[in-house]
Amino acid sequence: MAASNFPEEQKVFSSMSRSQSSQRSGVMNSASDGQKRRSIIAEDHEWSLALVPLLTTLCLQHIIKHFEEKPILHELQPSFKTYVLQRLPASLPLTITANLISDESYWKRCCEARWGLADISTYDNSWKQMFFERHLQSIIELFIPDTTDTKTVLDVLPLCQNYVKQLRVSQLLPPIKEPSRFDEDDGSESASDMGSDGPSMDHFDFRMLLDKLPNLKELSVVYCVKGCGMNFEWNLFEFTFRDCESLAKALNSCKTLQVFRIHRSKVDDEKCCVIVNHLLDHPSLQELDFSHNHISDRGARAIAKLLNRSQLKTLIVCNNQIRGAGAQALAHALAKNNTLTSLNLRLNRIADEGGQALAQALIKNKTLVNLHLGGNNMTEPAAVALSQALVENCALKSLNLCNNRLGADGGKVLEEGMTHNCTLVECDIRLTDVDQDSEYSICQALHANQIKTKHNHDPSAKV
């Protein structure tokens, strides 16, 4: 380094027009002077002023470093603001960042730091929303009643209440029993235990949550435990009556809710009735999903009552145990209803009586667009009724009848009905024992309808 420095210094001397006669002494001098100069002229040749950090950047770095003690953001100029936001660590406490930072890139970094890759499209394309929804979701999913302090939830609430719009709870943990007792009361007394310990099996209480989320629109709940592995116990999958009541009250208190889903939670008729009763006249509810539960006719009747006392647009009760009576009740409600557009009764047991009732309701109804009756044990009479409905109805666009033993005659009847229909675009008749000929003709009719609707749409699009 020193060697490299010499020529420069010599140059300096020559420029100072000193005598070059005693180069040696000059070098000596330069060495002695160099001691002073070295502090000024950098030895590094690559050194330049451009590399010195600006005072502003130093300040900004200081702000970033002490953001936790003193958050300064909105006072900054836009360019500095982006600089700070790009460099803020994702580990900052939420109490500071939640209401202060709205920048998406920061929350994207937070999300990626916490969960890795994620699909933002299901969260309204907002990283912040995604972060808070998943944050709250994970808190609820890991919440153990009586063990976890409710404060953990309540502390987070004021931070995330403005950003959470949908909650998808995929598990709810039951309270932990004392292991000693659990061992003693093994097997034989489990039934009695369940009776006595019933109240203690309650899950997370949604009442303290829902009325504090002013923007909540979607709620999905599953009362089960994920990944229990070999620790499987039936009462891990218990949806107690008290849970049901608290959930129903919470739902009633949340006036902004639009979508409610409860899957795989052993919702039987009683619980269904409780929930539906609390949802009566709800101002905003549009979609109700009771898939994969144990609802039978009584619950179906309750839901039918709800149909005409709400703004429901979508009702999904697939994989339940609704039979003919329940379907009749639903059909009765459907005949008067003018909001519902989609009804899903897949994998129920409504059979012919239910199918006929629904077909009759379809004649009167003018709003229903999608109807799924797959796997409902229907046969020829239902097909006859549906073909009549197809002739009369002019709103239905999609009909799913797969897995019903309609038979060849039923297929022919349907074919006949389809020839008079001009709105149906999709009709699924797989595994219905229908003749290939009639299936083909039905497909033709559907195709014709598709083209027709397309032509109807295209001019409108052009205009």
Binding site: L347, G374, G375, D428, R430, L431
Partner: protein, 670 residues
């Protein structure tokens, strides 16, 4: 062709047009407007084009690319729906299996229930049989029978238990079977899911592939179409170009022939014009020479003028400089003056302030002093009144005393005269005895009274003595009348208005009053003084006139100047007021201000003197002589009385001595 031309034209226009990104606001607005207009035009053109030209093209296009696109779309839709079906088939199959399972389950439930019921019924029967046998067994007496019965019972019981066990094992087997099935189902579902995923992936890949293919195909078709169009247009273009070439050649040939014709014509014309040109040139040359001469002259004139103007310009410049100097001087002066003015102004304001303050203080002083003065006056008047009263009293007292003394003196005089002298006594004249009180002041008659008197005509007499100057009463009257007539301006107009209805005498009287008050004449004396002054003035004047107007006129002039000349009156009056009135006014003013009529005490001494001199000098001498004589007489008398007294004493002594002698004589006799 049409379109391309239009397009080219449009592009050209666009180059000239103001751009939207221009800096100027107006230009941008203009650009937008133009763009809008262009769009509208294009739309109308399109419509027109559709009518005539477009139809065929459109039809052709639909034949090729659009058809291809539609075809591909349909194919894709079909592919999609097929794929969807393929994928959902699994779900449907699973659903079907599930529903089958459920129906089976239900069936199984039903069978099981039947079986259980049957079993329950049979076991119940058996149980009843056992029960029945129990009663039979009770009837039995012998132990052997009992044992048989018991064993048979046991057998039956075992049978029941065996049945039950069998049922249990059957159910357990069923449970196991369903467990197996559950596991199998799980496995199958896992397989299904795998299959589903596989199919989905497959679908995605196939769809991707087909999409790509489609895209490629469509692109190809479009390319081809474009190419064919291009070739077609090119051909057309070539054809048109050829046509044009031919036409141009033809045109060129035509134009060449025309050109030759024109060349001949030109040659002819050239020759003609050259001749004309020569003639013209000669004419023009002569004209040019003339004009050059003129130019020379004008140049000379111009030069002269220039010089003159230069000189004038110099002069003016110098003047301007001088003017500038003067201007600057004046400016400086103005500035100085301005300064002075400002100073003066400030001084003036200061002065004004001071004077105002002084004025204020002085006016205050004045009011105070006038107040004091008034007070003093009041006091003085009061004291004067008191003094007058006291004087009156003192006067009366002294007078009484004096009168008493004179009385006594007269009385004594009378006594002396009658008793001592034996003469007839006559009292001396005593005018003051009748009078009592202070000497009354003789009041002066005021000027107006005098004037009134004079105006009334003949004097009542007595005044002639006063007017010692020998002023004729008539002359005074005439003067007064003159005054009255001429000095009307001194009288107020209002007063004149009021006076109009009165008699002439009274009118003039009141007028005179006003005039006197204006001039400052108050007493009769003043009036006469004035009259005298006028007379003097007149005489003075007349002297002059006399000097001037020779002797011939003599008395007539005197007669004329009897009355002072009206024009001189004013001057005379002015002089008079200047000389006399001022002091008089002051004096009279003073006395009037004091409000006291100064007593004239000159006669008082005489009065008292007259009282004192009641006894004449001769009488006093007589009294002195009488006094001395009486004193002598008194001395004689006193001597006589003394002597009388002595004699008396001596007589008394004699008597006493006689007594004593008698005594002695009597006593000695004893």
């Amino acid at each position: 062709m049409h379109q391309t031309e239009a397009f080219a034209a449009g592009e050209e226009a666009e180059e000239l047009r103001p751009s939207v990104e221009s800096d100027k606001k107006e230009e941008r607005i203009l650009a937008r407007r133009l763009r809008l207009a262009a769009r509208k035009e294009a739309q109308t053109k399109q419509r027109l084009g559709e009518d005539d030209l477009g139809k065929e093209d459109v039809k052709e296009e639909t034949r090729k690319s659009q058809k291809e696109v539609e075809h591909r779309e349909r194919r894709m839709a079909k592919l999609k729906s097929d794929g969807l079906e393929l994928v959902t088939n699994i779900q449907v199959a699973a659903d079907a299996r599930e529903s089958d399972r459920r129906t089976e389950l239900e069936e199984g439930h039903r069978l099981r229930r039947e079986k259980l019921e049957n079993e329950a019924k049979s076991s119940q029967e058996k149980f009843e049989e056992i029960n029945r046998k129990w009663t039979d067994a009770k009837m039995k007496q012998t132990p052997l029978d009992l044992r048989d019965a018991l064993s048979s019972q046991q057998q039956l019981c075992e049978q029941i238990i065996a049945d039950k066990n069998k049922l249990i094992s059957e159910l357990q087997q069923e449970l196991k079977a369903s467990d197996d099935r559950y596991v199998k189902d799980l496995k199958r579902q896992a397989k299904d899911i795998d299959l589903l995923v596989e199919r989905m992936e497959e679908q995605i890949s196939t769809l991707k592939k087909s999409y790509r293919e489609d895209l490629h195909q469509i692109e190809n078709s479009l390319d081809e179409e474009r190419r064919t169009l291009l070739t077609k247009h090119k051909k057309k273009w070539e054809h048109e170009r050829k046509d044009r070439n031919e036409k141009e050649l033809k045109n060129m040939m035509q134009s060449l022939s025309v050109m030759e014709e024109y060349a001949d014509l030109l040659q002819k014309l050239r020759v003609q014009t050259a001749e004309e040109y020569n003639i013209d040139k000669i004419r023009m040359d002569t004209e040019v020479q003339k004009l050059r001469m003129k130019v020379q002259q004008t140049k000379f004139n111009c030069h002269m003028n220039e010089e003159k103007l230069d000189y004038k310009y110099e002069v003016l410049k110098k003047k301007e400089e001088e003017n500038a100097i003067i201007k600057s001087q004046l400016k400086r002066k103005i500035i100085r003056m301005q300064d002075v003015l400002n100073n003066l102004k400030s001084k003036l304001t200061k002065q004004e302030k001071q004077s105002k303050a002084g004025n204020q203080s002085l006016s205050n002083d004045y009011t105070r002093i006038s107040q004091q003065y008034k007070d003093m006056q009041k006091k003085a008047r009061h004291f004067a009144a008191l003094d007058a009263e006291r004087l009156e009293k003192l006067w009366l007292m002294c007078e009484d005393e004096a009168k008493a003394l004179t009385h006594r003196a007269l009385e004594t005089d009378r006594v002396i005269h009658e008793q001592q002298l034996g003469l007839e006594w006559a009292s001396p004249p005593l005018p003051f005895m009748e009078r009592s009180g202070a000497v009354q002041q003789k009041t002066f008659r005021t000027a107006t009274q005098a004037a009134a008197d004079t105006l009334k005509g003949e004097p009542e007499g007595g005044l002639d003595e006063d007017t010692a100057a020998g002023l004729n009463k008539r002359t005074v009257k005439s003067i007064l009348e003159l005054l009255c007539d001429e000095m009307g301006f001194l009288v107020e107009s209002k007063l004149l208005m009021l006076l109009s209805p009165l008699e002439k005498n009274e009118q003039s009287l009141i007028k005179l009053d006003a005039i006197f008050s204006a001039i400052g004449i108050e007493s009769e004396k003043d009036v006469y003084k004035m009259a005298e002054f006028f007379m003097n003035y007149r005489q003075h004047e007349s002297k002059y006139t006399k000097d001037e107007t020779a002797n011939g006129q003599g008395e007539s002039a005197e007669e004329l100047s009897n009355l002072i000349h009206t024009e001189d009156l004013l001057a005379a009056l002015k002089d008079f007021t200047a000389q006399f009135c001022r002091q008089d006014v002051h004096a009279s003013h003073k006395s009037s201000i004091l409000g006291l009529d100064m007593r004239d005490d000159s006669e008082d001494a005489a009065y008292w003197e007259s009282i004192a001199n009641v006894m004449p000098e001769s009488k006093l001498k007589l009294w002195d002589a009488l006094d001395t004589a009486l004193n002598k007489y008194h001395a004689v008398l006193t001597e006589r009385t003394e002597l009388l007294m002595e004699t008396q004493n001596i007589q008394q002594q004699n008597s006493e001595l006689r007594q004593l002698l008698h005594l002695y004589t009597t006593s000695k006799a004893q």
